[in-house]
Amino acid sequence: MMRNFTDFETNKPLGFDIHGSQTAPAVDIFETSDFFIIAVDIPGINLEDLDLDLKGNVITILGKISDEGTESRCLVSEFSPGGYFRRIQLGDAVDTRNIRAVLDNGVLKIKAQKKSRLPRRIPVLA
């Protein structure tokens, strides 16, 4: 059971601040007839500061927010702009060769095509 709570690469249990000040962004996942659509809230991230990787069937989202050292005095602090980290494991129904992503106003939208369910003809040689 604990196996599923572990990091995919390091095999270390998650939730022990192994990724510093980064937080896990909120995610929506939808399924249509042809696609899986993953929407991730990563506000404050510039496109050049976003790393989106696919290794095996695991998507890794890593966004860094550079600390713009300010001389301002903080009066209210409800969130900490430290960056984002999250991994999403794709299942067998996803065609990992057909994944596209768009970053729009702080929302990362990943669109993954489903594998074709039509039977594929296998040529038979004489």
């Binding site: 059971m1 599923n4 709570f5 995919f8 998650l14 939730g15 937080t23 896990a24 909120a26 995610v27 929506d28 996942i29 939808f30 399924e31 249509t32 899986f36 659509i37 993953i38 929407a39 809230d41 990563i42 506000p43 404050g44 991230i45 510039n46 300010t70 001389e71 301002s72 005095r73 903080c74 009066l75 209210v76 602090s77 409800e78 969130f79 702009p81 999250r86 991994r87 999403i88 494991q89 794709l90 299942g91 067998d92 129904a93 996803v94 970053l103 729009d104 106003n105 702080g106 929302v107 939208k109």
Partner: protein, 155 residues
């Protein structure tokens, strides 16, 4: 079909279907812990003071900026707006839903009265930055005892 994507992390854990290895009880525990978390406050706001400015920063990804309303009354700033779901996924099957949607309203009281200028709003990459200049004249007006004294009136 819907078990084709799994999300595993310290916050959401492993949400999924009946096929989830954690079972329904574990999933419900995770959902409850999410509901109790301060995530339900939306949008979260940071306030900074910089000289004669107050700077409010907040994250509202996917905001309909034209529909954003900012109302300032003396030292109270009210932000009102809406996050609309993506039209493309309106009829789609929902596997996981964590992102806050719908109408929101936040009211923030600042230490001093401020002036609002629409041009001081900046929305970039889902981050909304608002700058408010302290309203010095308003401070005097809001304290008539001081204004009277300044005008030579006496008690």
């Amino acid at each position: 079909m819907s078990s084709s994507i799994h999300v595993s992390d310290p916050i959401s854990g492993h949400f999924g279907t009946d096929a989830s290895p954690y079972g329904k009880a574990a999933e419900l525990t995770m959902i409850r812990s999410l509901l109790k978390s301060p995530m339900t406050v939306f949008p979260r706001v940071n306030v900074y003071e910089h000289g004669d400015l107050f700077v409010l920063t907040t994250y509202i990804p996917g905001l309909d900026f034209d529909a954003l309303q900012v109302v300032v009354k003396a030292n109270e700033v009210v932000i009102r707006g809406q996050r609309k779901p993506d039209a493309e996924t309106a009829d789609a099957l929902v596997i996981l839903r964590e992102r806050a949607m719908g109408e929101f309203r936040r009211s923030i009281r600042l230490p001093d009265p401020v002036l609002y200028d629409e041009k001081e709003l900046q929305y970039r990459n889902g981050a909304l930055i608002m700058r408010f200049r302290k309203n010095q004249s308003n401070t005097a007006l809001s304290r008539p005892d001081l204004a009277t004294r300044a005008n030579g009136g006496g008690l």
